[in-house]
Every structure is written in structure tokens, then in C-alpha cells.
């Protein structure tokens, strides 16, 4: 067994290789490294805290069970992100069938005013409610790109790597997603 002090410096790929062999300590380290990222990603895609928590846990279980299918020549994060995104898609489809996309099931507190921002107090609660609704009414792919750029603050190069798409596609997807979001917010305000 490797020394735990050294193991915290293991690369993601080394940890998944150990998980393939059934090493739960490697899984624990990977979980510690990415649990918040997994939760926030799922939260941005499904807009519900409880479900985002469950999805993030299920994503790590998938990593544990499917580690054998992981291609070690590829970076870990895009693979992990795809697992989370697929789980979110499935969850949203189920919810859509179950609730017929009723907005009441959304967690109204999944987006909150950033206390660190001094201008935050100037925003009316209605504007935030309108933003929440508009984001949850965006098609999945638009919500995804907005979540990555606006809320996770990722650069175009990072988004391109994560989604495995060209930089130009990131730019055009952002353009269309913003157009739709602005339109939905206008509709919601008016």
C-alpha cells in the first residue's frame, strides 16, 4: 500500500488505475478532490440541491464500477464530467416525465446572492427568481455552457477541453445560449 502522504499528490489517472484494482482509499482521495466540483456541476445542470448531492454521489459510484472502461490515455475530468452530465440528463428526463416540467419542483434556493459582491444588494429578489427560472428553462446544452462559463468561470480553452469541442464551437454555443437566456429573462420580467 502506498503512503497516504504521497498519495495525495497522485495524479487523477493514477488514482483511477488504483480504483480499477478495487482500491477504496484511491476512491476516497478522488472523492475528496472532486466532491464539491461534482456537486456544483450537477447543481448547475439540475437546479436542485438534494438531487445534485445524490447525482454527485452516483457519479463517484459509476467511477468506482466503471473504472475498467476508463481510457488512461485520456484526461480524467472530461470523462468524469460526461458521467455527471449523463446522470443529469437521465434525471431531468425522469423528472420531465414525472412532473411534466413543473417549476414547483425546482429548488428555489439553488442560486443565491454572492455575499462577496458589494453590488449584490442592488439586485432585486425578483431578478434572481427570474434568472433561476430562465436558466432552468434553457435546453440542456445551453444551460451547460452557461453554467461552465458564467458560474464556474472557466476559460474557453478549459471548456473546449472538458466538452471535447473546438474553441469556435464554445463561442457560438455561448452566443446562442446567451440570446435564449436574455429572451427568457425578458419574457419572465414582462
Amino acid at each position: 500500500m502506498k503512503n497516504s502522504g504521497v498519495r495525495t499528490m497522485d495524479t487523477d489517472i493514477a488514482l483511477v488505475t488504483d480504483i480499477k484494482a478495487g482500491d477504496k482509499k484511491a476512491l476516497a482521495l478522488l472523492v475528496e478532490r472532486y466532491k464539491k466540483l461534482a456537486y456544483r456541476t450537477a447543481l448547475g445542470l439540475v437546479g436542485n440541491k438534494d438531487d445534485a448531492y445524490d447525482i454527485s454521489q452516483e457519479a463517484f459510484l459509476r467511477v468506482y464500477r466503471s473504472a475498467g472502461t476508463y481510457d488512461e490515455s485520456q484526461p480524467f475530468l472530461p470523462w468524469f464530467y460526461t458521467i455527471i452530465a449523463n446522470l443529469c440528463r437521465t434525471w431531468l428526463k425522469r423528472r420531465s416525465r414525472r412532473e411534466n416540467r413543473m417549476l414547483d419542483v425546482d429548488d428555489v434556493s439553488y442560486l443565491m446572492i454572492d455575499d462577496a459582491n458589494p453590488e449584490a444588494e442592488m439586485i432585486r429578489k425578483e431578478s434572481i427568481a427570474s434568472l433561476r427560472r430562465a436558466i432552468m428553462n434553457l435546453p440542456f446544452e445551453d444551460r451547460e455552457i452557461i453554467m461552465l462559463q458564467h458560474f464556474r468561470g472557466m476559460s474557453y480553452a478549459e471548456i473546449a477541453d472538458l466538452l471535447r469541442i473546438p474553441r469556435g464551437t464554445v463561442m457560438s454555443r455561448l452566443y446562442y445560449a446567451r440570446k435564449k437566456l436574455a429572451k427568457l429573462m425578458r419574457g419572465s420580467d414582462g
Partner: protein, 147 residues
């Protein structure tokens, strides 16, 4: 608006353009009122989204995160063993119960046909369910690789 301008607009709002690209975009901006209106709209949007953040979970939830996940990994293993054991016991029980029934001349024919019908139905449903699960699994793996 053409595709290139749309891409440049997104890049301009996010400060992702090179110096040369930014200069070319600003030149176009001076001549294009529609582009200026969209730029303002996107800036407002960025301002609003910049003032909110995703709600975090309480620290105690994060502290117990691994313990909760660990229990789920154990439960998964438990279910696998339980399922295998149940299938073996059920299969053996059915074999013992049914093998005698088919050779027993005192069991009426309608009973044998009825039991056979139920058995065939269960097999069909089981095969259909397994096929569906395998199909879903393959599709998901495919997405993971090609995305």
C-alpha cells in the same frame, strides 16, 4: 449576423479575444448598431449572473460525504451477492418443484400448460429487460467515449 461575428461577440464579452481580434471587432462594433445592442444585452446578462453563485451545502454534509458514499459501495456489493444467491435458490426450487409436476400423470394438462405459459412469459420479460439494460449501458458508454 454572420457566424464569425457571433463568435467574436461572445469572445469580446468574456475577454477571450487576442489583441488583433479585439481591434477588428471594435472596428465592426463602430459600424454595426445591431451588434452594439447585442453587446449591451450580453454585458447586462453577465453582470446579473456575476452577482449570484450556487448555494453550497453545510460543512457537516461535506464531512460525512465519504462515509455516505462508502456505505453505498458496500450496499452495491451486498445487492450483487443477494441477487446471485436468490437466483440460484429460486432456480433450484423451481427445478425441483416443476420437474416432478411434468412427469406426474395425475397433474391435469391444463395445469401443465398454464405453468408453462407463466414460465415462458417470465423468460420473455426477463430477456427483454436484460436486452434493454444492456442497450442503455452500451449507449451510455458510447457517449462517454465520443463526447
Amino acid at each position: 449576423m454572420d457566424k464569425h461575428l457571433r463568435e467574436m461577440l461572445a469572445g469580446y464579452v468574456d475577454g477571450e479575444l487576442s489583441g488583433e481580434e479585439r481591434q477588428a471587432f471594435e472596428k465592426e462594433l463602430g459600424e454595426n448598431a445591431e451588434l452594439r445592442a447585442e453587446l449591451e444585452e450580453f454585458k447586462r446578462l453577465k453582470e446579473v449572473t456575476g452577482m449570484v453563485k450556487y448555494a453550497d451545502l453545510p460543512e457537516e454534509v461535506w464531512e460525512s460525504y465519504w462515509a455516505s458514499l462508502y456505505r453505498k459501495t458496500e450496499r452495491g456489493i451486498g445487492w450483487i451477492f443477494l441477487s446471485i444467491g436468490a437466483i440460484i435458490l429460486l432456480g433450484f426450487g423451481l427445478y425441483q418443484g416443476l420437474s416432478g409436476m411434468y412427469t406426474d400423470p395425475e397433474v391435469p394438462l391444463w395445469m401443465k400448460i398454464g405453468v408453462s405459459g407463466v414460465g415462458i412469459g417470465v423468460i420473455f420479460l426477463l430477456v427483454s429487460y436484460i436486452r434493454e439494460r444492456l442497450f442503455a449501458y452500451n449507449r451510455e458508454r458510447y457517449r462517454e467515449v465520443t463526447r
